[in-house]
Assembly symmetry: C2
C-alpha cells in the first residue's frame, strides 16, 4: 500500500461525555498504519467535552460527510446510551455498518452498538460496570474476555482495552510486523505497578471503591448533556427490531 495514498478510512465517533482514552488509544495505533485516514466524526464539527470533564476533543467531520468508513470505532462514555447519542447517530451507525470492513467498540461503546441493534444474538464485551446491559440488548456478554470477535464486529472491554484491540486489528489489516512496529513506536510494554485491572484480580475492597468511583463519575449531568432520547427508547428499538 502506498503510504501517500490514504484509502483506508477510520471513523472514530465522538459525542459529549465520550471517554477520551477509549478514542485516543486506538487513534495512536491506527494513525500509524500506512495509508490510513483518521476522522473524528460527530453530529457537528465542534469540540465535545469528555467524560469526567476538563478535556475537549474536536470533531473534524460530520456523520453526513462520512458515509462509508472502512473501520468504525465507537468509544464509550457516560453509560446511558440515551445520553450519549441520539437517533441520528444510531441511524448512521446502522447505515455505515453495512459497508464497513470492521465495526468496533471500546468500553461502553458496545452499548451504543447494542442500541443500534447490531449486537443481537452476538457475543460481546463492555466495561464490567455495565456488562448486564449487554444482555438486555440481546447480546451474549463475555465478561472474561478483553477482545471479542463476532465476524466483523469487534468489541473490547473498558477504556484501556482499546489499545489491545487496535493492535490486534492492526495485525489483521497491516500484518504482524507493522503491528509490532506500531507497538514499539508507542512503547506499549505495559508494566502497571499493581495487578488490579480486571474484576477477577481486584480485591473486594478495591472492587467496591471502583464501583463508587464509577457511580460518582457516570451521571451525565456533570457533562451538561440534555438527555436526548430516553433509555426506554433503546429497548423499544431493540423490540421493534430496527
Amino acid at each position: 500500500m502506498d503510504k501517500k495514498d490514504k484509502h483506508f478510512q477510520v471513523a472514530i465517533l465522538l459525542y459529549p461525555g465520550v471517554t477520551a482514552l477509549d478514542a485516543v488509544g486506538p487513534l495512536e495505533v491506527f494513525s500509524r498504519m500506512p495509508g490510513t485516514e483518521i476522522r473524528m466524526v460527530g453530529k457537528e464539527v465542534k469540540p465535545v467535552i469528555t467524560e469526567g470533564g476538563g478535556l475537549y476533543l474536536g470533531v473534524t467531520h460530520t456523520l453526513a460527510e462520512t458515509p462509508s468508513p472502512d473501520l468504525l470505532l465507537v468509544p464509550g462514555g457516560t453509560t446511558t446510551p440515551g445520553q450519549m447519542v441520539d437517533d441520528d447517530v444510531l441511524d448512521w451507525i446502522r447505515r455505515v455498518h453495512k459497508t464497513t470492513t470492521w465495526t468496533t467498540s471500546v468500553c461502553t461503546g458496545a452499548l451504543i452498538l447494542g442500541a443500534a441493534g447490531i449486537l443481537k444474538g452476538k457475543p460481546a464485551v463492555t466495561h464490567w460496570y455495565k456488562m448486564g446491559v449487554l444482555r438486555i440488548m440481546g447480546a451474549q456478554p463475555r465478561p472474561a474476555e478483553r477482545i471479542v470477535q463476532s465476524g466483523k464486529i469487534i468489541t473490547s472491554a473498558g477504556v484501556s482495552a482499546g489499545i489491545d484491540m487496535a493492535l490486534w486489528l492492526a495485525e489483521k489489516m497491516a500484518g504482524r510486523k507493522q503491528a509490532e512496529a506500531i507497538q514499539l513506536t508507542i512503547e506499549y510494554d505495559p508494566h502497571p505497578p499493581f495487578d488490579a485491572g480486571h474484576m477477577s484480580k481486584a480485591s473486594k475492597d478495591v472492587q467496591k471503591l471502583a464501583k463508587k468511583i464509577m457511580d460518582e463519575r457516570m451521571p451525565a449531568s456533570q457533562h451538561r448533556l440534555a438527555p436526548r432520547i430516553a433509555w426506554r427508547r433503546f429497548v423499544d428499538l431493540l423490540r421493534t427490531g430496527r
Copy 2:
C-alpha cells in the same frame, strides 16, 4: 481528602504537535483521584492539533492562569523541542517547577523538561527514538527503565508509559487502594497481542520499521508549526545555565 474540595491541581501542558495518548493516558488516571482538578494548559485557550494530525485537543487554561499547579505533566510530541514550545513555556515550566509537588513527563516531554534546564545531572528517560538527546541536555539516560524518579521529577518512557507512571503517582498521592481502584475503572489489565513494546524485545526488522514510522511521522512540518525557536537556542540555554 474531601472529594468535593478540589485542592490538588494537575496541569497537563498542551502544544501543537503533542502526542494525544501521552496526555490522555495520565488524564484518565488523575481525573479519577479524589479532590483533583485537571487543567489542560497552554499558551492560548484554543484547540491544538496533535502529532500525526486528525485530532484536536482543547487548551482550557493559559499558563498565566495557572501559576502554581501541584503536579505538572509535560507530554511528548514532535521531537524537536524548539518546534514544540517556546521560551514563554520554558520560563513557565521553570517557574512552576519551584513549587510543584511533582514535575513529570511522558515520552519526549522529557526533552522539554531538559530544554527548561531542570534535568541537568539527573537520571531520566524518554522515547527510545530520542534517548540520545537527553545526554546532550546533561541528563543521565536510563533507556531500560519505564519510570525514572529523581526526587520530585518523574520521567517516563514513550507514549503509553504515561499510564503506568500516572498509576505509580496515584499510589503515592492517594494510596494503594485508590490507585488499584482507578486501575480497575479503566480496566487496565493489559494483554497486548504481541510483545514488541520495548527495544530490547523487538526484532531487528521491527526496530527498523518502527524507526521508519518515527522518521516519517516526526517532521513538525506536517503540523504546520512555525519553528519558534531554533534547536540551538536550547543548547545555549543549557550552556548559560538558565
